[in-house]
């Protein structure tokens, strides 16, 4: 017993002991599934019958129209959420951070409240609000303005817009808090000296806030790219399942779910998952290169 304790408390060994929980979690829940997924993507898997098929799953993916729809949906969703969920929360964060803002606490809480709701509950409520019948909330609003009711979730444009709207409603608060904490790290003296030098609010933002909050922006950008590409629950709840009309709400993970568990094709689903990993990683690596986080090539 004493010998074990002596080893654990040893100066050289202690760091490894502290890191061990994380390393174990990483190996078991990340590395192992990754390796088996790569293996599975080269197989056809049925209960009791596993057949290696080489690159056949990937070949099928290339010709799969529905997969292309899913990728297109996920990519456009990511683009729209990036366009809306980075500038606006940043502006809100600057506004809340500004000294002349009243009731900061209230606005912070109000913007953050949607984040605390369950995605399942909010998805269900949005589905009812945007229902196709005349009595749904949004259609009631439309008829109030003299417009005819529309089938929100059955049409590409409006269905997609609802999905993006729900995402904005939900995630503005989180991104705002990220930016707010980034802004709080900027020393006030910099603003004061800028003011003394004659900078107005916009110039202060452009030359003081923006450069110094850049690391936060890059962080939010990176996680948003991943979150956008891997979105599943919002779409699943909005259409009460994975079967949106004409697959307007189908995402890459939604397609993975459909193939893996609804159609019982785990090998094919693994290939889908790997494609998502490669796409997401590529986009993020490019993005990180461009923003200078990862070293530049040739200066």
């Amino acid at each position: 017993m004493n010998k074990v304790l002596a080893v654990l408390y040893d100066q050289k060994v202690a760091p490894y002991v502290f890191v061990l929980p994380f390393v174990l979690t990483f190996l078991i829940f990340f590395v192992y599934p990754l390796i088996t997924t790569i293996q599975m993507s080269f197989q056809d898997i049925l209960p009791g019958v596993v057949v290696p098929v080489g690159f056949k799953n990937y070949q099928r993916l290339l010709g799969d129209r529905i997969f292309r729809t899913a990728v297109s949906n996920s990519l456009w969703y990511t683009v729209w959420t990036l366009a809306l969920l980075i500038p606006f929360p940043l502006v809100f964060a600057c506004m809340i951070n500004s000294r002349s803002m009243k009731w900061q606490g209230f606005f912070k809480a109000a913007l953050f409240l949607p984040v605390l709701t369950s995605v399942v509950v909010s998805g269900t409520i949005f589905r009812l609000m945007f229902g196709e019948l005349e009595g749904s909330f949004m259609n009631t609003v439309r008829t109030f303005f003299g417009l005819s009711p529309i089938k929100w979730l059955k049409v590409q444009r409006t269905g997609f817009a609802t999905m993006v709207l729900m995402a904005c409603w939900r995630w503005t608060g989180v991104n705002m808090l990220y930016f707010l904490s980034g802004l709080k790290n900027i020393p006030l003296e910099l603003y004061e000296s800028a003011e003394i030098d004659g900078a107005n609010a916009w110039q202060q933002f452009r030359h003081v806030s923006a450069p110094l909050v850049k690391p936060t922006i890059i962080y939010v950008l990176t996680i948003s790219i991943y979150a956008g590409l891997a979105m599943f629950t919002e779409s699943y709840m909005l259409w009460a399942g994975n079967n949106s009309p004409r697959n307007i709400g189908l995402t890459i993970i939604g397609y993975l779910y459909r193939q893996g568990w609804e159609q019982n094709r785990m090998g094919y689903a693994s290939a889908v998952g790997l494609v998502l990993l490669v796409v997401g990683m590529t986009i993020n690596l490019i993005q990180l290169r461009l923003t200078g986080v990862l070293g530049r090539r040739g200066g």
Binding site: L46, P47, G48, V49, K56, R60, G63, D64, R65, I66, G131, E132, L133, K151, K154, G241, N242, N243, S244, P245, R246, N247, Y257, R258, W261, E262, Q263, N264, M266
Partner: protein, 428 residues
């Protein structure tokens, strides 16, 4: 002293746990999942009967009702991983082939079924079987019929008994439109293919060909969807909220008296009773209209095959309970009396004491007798093929194809050609 006290305590605990084990030795607890509330109720009724007949092998059923997609997905995951599956589970017919792929993780029910199968419609057993093994217990025949809202049809001067063909149906729809501009003769489904499949069967066709290929871009399918689309464009039909009648939105819409006809399998009677109260005493049942007189007027649609999973506690007992509950004569009687479904034991269809019982709540709801209609079309009930590609076909048809046809009103020939192409590319 302390050691002795501890010893006595442990001994008491061991004995008392052994005693409780002994007391419940002849009651086996089973977990059951289903996606239809009414089924759960039926299983409890049959469990009580089983316990009366088998006091030494009693069953206690813990039934859970889950939403359709959720339940099937959870079952699939549980069977793939080998952990977490219920002992007994309802599996809907359009998803059933997915559970037969590879080596089915389900318990073969041949031995349990043996005493009863002579009386059961063979094709309903066939859709839940593979390689000579039965894996699912069928619930009903699911013969498709037309439910007519007699009151509003009479107002329009239409006698539902005169509607024999789709032309008659359309003409009746136009008359209805003159009297009730806001009501419709029926619905064009986008979330299910009940009417479309019935129209295919009338013409002797199917969604799957004899050599197990998708049969979407066919002459018969074109005729079916064009007929429906034209009626939709004329305002005789409307699309159904939530996609098809057997949904919350659909049932609510019907309950408001907006449609004169609902073409559904006979089991939809139970939904009228439980969830469409305002039409009681106003609905009649008749055979489905056909393209030309002489065509078969019905088709077995829908269905739930109840399975016993390989991870079940006492598979033999579960299988025997299941066979009793759903295939015995007693079970088949209750399938009509409690659930209002057309039982697979078709000999009972001529048992007038059962079928024409005036105290039966389903008979009380409708203006005429369901079995009169069923017996009229008994020899004309077609069966569709259930193949391993059926789930893929069903998936595309009910999400994309029907929406393109009936929501977007796209050109049927183009839609079918596209559908055939995409579905074929999804099969591998």
């Amino acid at each position: 002293m302390k050691k002795l006290a501890t010893f006595v305590l442990v001994l008491t605990l061991v004995f008392s746990s052994a005693l409780t084990g002994f007391a419940s030795a002849n009651v086996t607890k089973f977990t059951l999942w289903t996606f239809i509330q009414q089924h759960a109720r039926f299983y409890q009724v049959m469990t009580e009967k089983w316990n009366e007949l088998n006091p030494d092998r009693q069953v206690e059923l813990e039934a859970t009702v889950l939403p359709y997609d959720d339940m099937h997905n959870k079952l699939q995951i549980a069977l793939q991983s080998g952990v977490g599956a219920p002992d007994i589970c309802d599996v809907e017919v359009s998803r059933f082939p997915n559970f037969l792929l590879g080596t089915p993780q389900l318990f073969p029910l041949n031995d349990a079924f043996a005493p009863y199968i002579e009386d059961i419609v063979a094709s309903r057993l066939g859709i839940y079987s593979k390689d000579g093994n039965f894996y699912g217990a069928p619930t009903h025949v699911g013969a498709t019929v037309a439910f007519y809202y007699v009151d509003i049809l009479e107002d329009a001067g239409v006698d539902y008994r005169d509607i024999k063909t789709w032309d008659d149906f359309a003409a009746a729809g136009r008359k209805l439109k003159e009297v009730y501009p806001d009501k419709y003769m029926g619905v064009a489904e986008t979330g299910a293919a009940w009417t479309v499949t019935a129209m295919l069967a009338q013409q002797g066709s199917d969604l799957v060909s004899t050599d197990d290929q998708p049969a979407i871009n066919t002459r018969e399918m074109l005729r079916a969807v064009t007929t429906l689309q034209n009626m939709l464009k004329d305002g005789i039909l409307t699309t159904c909220p939530d996609g098809q009648p057997d949904t919350e939105g659909g049932k609510g819409y019907i309950d408001q008296g907006n449609v004169a006809t609902v073409i559904m399998p006979q089991w939809f009677m139970s939904r009228f009773l439980d969830e469409i109260p305002s039409l009681k005493g106003k609905m009649a049942i008749a055979p489905v209209p056909v393209f030309e007189e002489g065509m078969p007027r019905s088709l077995g649609l829908g269905g739930t095959g109840t399975v016993v999973t390989l991870t079940a506690k006492d598979k033999v007992l579960a299988a025997e309970w299941l066979a009793y509950a759903k295939l015995s004569e007693e079970g088949n009687r209750m399938i009509w009396e409690d659930l209002g479904f057309d039982p697979c034991n078709t000999a009972l269809w001529t048992d007038t004491e059962m079928t024409h019982n005036p105290n039966n709540r389903y008979n009380q709801y409708f203006l005429n007798n369901a079995f009169d209609v069923l017996n009229e079309v008994k020899e004309e009930i077609m069966m569709i093929r259930s193949s391993s590609i059926s789930p893929i076909i069903n998936q595309y048809v009910t999400t994309t194809m029907l929406n393109e046809l009936f929501e977007d009103l796209m050109d049927p020939a183009e839609v079918l050609e596209e559908a055939q192409y995409v579905i074929e590319s999804q099969i591998f």
